[in-house]
Amino acid sequence: MAQSTQQGSPAGEPPEPGTSPEKPDFGTLTKFQPASLADSMHDSLPRWAPLAATGLGALVAAALLAVTDLHVALAVIAGTVVAIAAFTIASRAVEGERAATDRFVTSLVTVAFVLAMLPLVSVVWTTVSRGLARFDYAFFTQSQAGIIGEGGGAYHAIMGTLIVTGIATIISVPIGTMTAIYLVEYGGDNKLSRVVTFLVDVMTGIPSIVAGLFSLALFTLLFGPGLRIGIMGSIALSVLMIPIVVRAVEEMLRIVPARLRESSYALGVPKWRTIVKVVLPTAASGIASGVVIAVARVMGETAPLLVTVGLATSTNLNPFEGRMATLPVFAYYQIAFPGIPPQAFIDRAWTSALLLILFVMTLNVGARVLAKALAPKTR
């Protein structure tokens, strides 16, 4: 009873007579009793307080903009600082020291989150608003063959991107998965697996142009200079993709509980069959999403494709002969070397960019769906 009346009372108000915080009756327990429980109780700010603080910040920023000729960004920063300060001070007055610290840190974290989101939202907004101009039927069905000015589409580049990344995936997934299986199931901590792990780490960090030049050098060595074919791009992309796949699969295999392997061994199942039939299916959902995210990562690579696949204006579906268009390279050329009228080229570049974002988004959503579908069920 006494507790509930105190809960409502504002901070600092002395507790009602008869409920004095000194409780001698508790004997030795007294020192474990939160003796200041009554003192530490405070009112809390209303639930709309964070909103109000944000509104205050916005007002300050607007006022600054109206009165002075401050840059917008500076005004927003000033508004944010004022809002956080006011919020924290109000919280300290009403809720006490600890709650105020909590409020302050929460505000900082929220600001950091908004800062991180800004570029993302800005990129999506810019790409969508500028890319919609050419987001039409022709863009998906026509190539640039015979197009000088306006019109045409990116059918050739879409197919090129799908073919080049598709082949890169076919090359990388088996190699990456098997490397990860070696590292987790067979290598243990031996010298070879330590070297492989180190190399994988290094490969994760290599600039993509290096992968492109590697592929270019490899094919120049084998077939002579000047060659530009789709498969060269796929090789370059696999160099980038394999380490990502290895890392993703390795992580997934490591979290498969050892006791599942043991119970399979105890049934007289050989090791390789245990890996194929118990370990891989258990990790399948994580492996699938890891692979899809790896595909999404390399799909937008421009530099390695620029030096290996080149660009074509007409549709070429054969990765073993002739140059191929790909979306990133297509976008680059459209915006870097526009023809006349330039707006048509710029529009095509933005639509290609929008399409790449949509591809990556679809792949990520697909990864989630796949992971959910493959995850072990308990119902």
């Binding site: 599942l260 049934l267 199942v269 050989p270 069920k377 119902r379």
Partner: protein
């Protein structure tokens, strides 16, 4: 089905560390042998050496003989995979395969080894094994459901069904009830009593009441101190071990004076 195991002078190592020293033991067919002793005394390690699961751990090895039905399990040319097919094992924590249904879990020993069988044959195996593990009545209407959806006690009986579905000669149980509640424990103990008519059972347990309730013979393992190897101190009929052991340490342990 059930066979005798004769262990002689078995030393079990982890790398260069001698974990269990000079165990000589006779495990009788159609009976339950319980292994008791304080934590870290090597009884689980010893149990795992009976079906060559011990060597799954890198660096682990044994010296000595484990003879099952006249055949040394550690003889040259003996395939550990074949050993594990005739000596089944149930672990401390129930661990059905999460990607498989109840039905497939029971058949895991066959399916994972690519043994081809007719549907009717497979159905028979599943029913027999689940009946054998006292689980049939509880799950026969939902065999297609995931094994991981069962309760802990049911999962453990599913693991027992999985182990007996491959018709092993010996069943090893490593603290099979330590993760279960008393009712599930009782179900598993009843089951052991039934299974011993067909199988040779070896059980490691920390629960001395359990050892005295279910086992015919009991072996007491002990360890002198950290870093020292564990040893088989005494082995005898369970009644004798619990009422009139010949070694002082055994009496102290079973009466709860240490350990």
């Amino acid at each position: 089905m059930s066979r005798q195991i004769d262990v002689s002078d078995l030393d079990i190592y982890y790398g260069s560390f001698l974990a269990v020293e000079k165990v000589t033991m006779e495990i009788r067919p159609r009976s339950i042998t319980a292994l008791i002793g304080p934590s870290g005394c090597g009884k689980s390690t010893f149990l795992r050496s009976l079906n060559r699961m011990h060597e799954v751990i890198p660096g682990a090895r044994v010296e000595g003989k484990v003879v099952l039905d006249g055949q040394d399990l550690y003889g040259s040319g003996v395939d550990p995979v074949a050993v594990r097919r005739s000596v089944g094992m149930v672990f401390q924590n129930p661990n059905p395969f999460p990607t498989m249904s109840i039905y497939d879990n029971v058949l895991a020993g066959m399916r994972l080894n690519n043994k081809r069988m007719k549907k009717s044959e497979a159905d028979d195996v599943v029913e027999q094994a689940l009946r054998g593990a006292n689980l049939w009545k509880e799950v026969n209407d939902r065999l297609g459901r995931p094994g991981a959806g069962l309760s802990g006690g049911q999962q453990q009986r599913l693991c027992i069904a999985r182990a007996i579905a491959v018709q092993p000669q010996v069943l090893l149980m490593d603290e099979p009830c330590s993760a279960l509640d008393p009712i599930s424990t009782l179900a598993i103990e009843d089951l052991m009593g039934k299974l011993k008519e067909e199988y040779t059972i070896v059980i490691v347990t920390h629960n001395m009441q359990q050892a005295s309730r279910v086992s015919d013979r009991t072996g007491f393992f002990n360890i002198e101190g950290t870093g020292k190897p564990g040893k088989l101190v005494e082995m005898d009929a369970t009644d004798t071990i619990f009422s009139n052991p010949s070694v002082k340490a055994t009496e102290d342990y079973v009466s709860g004076r240490f350990g």
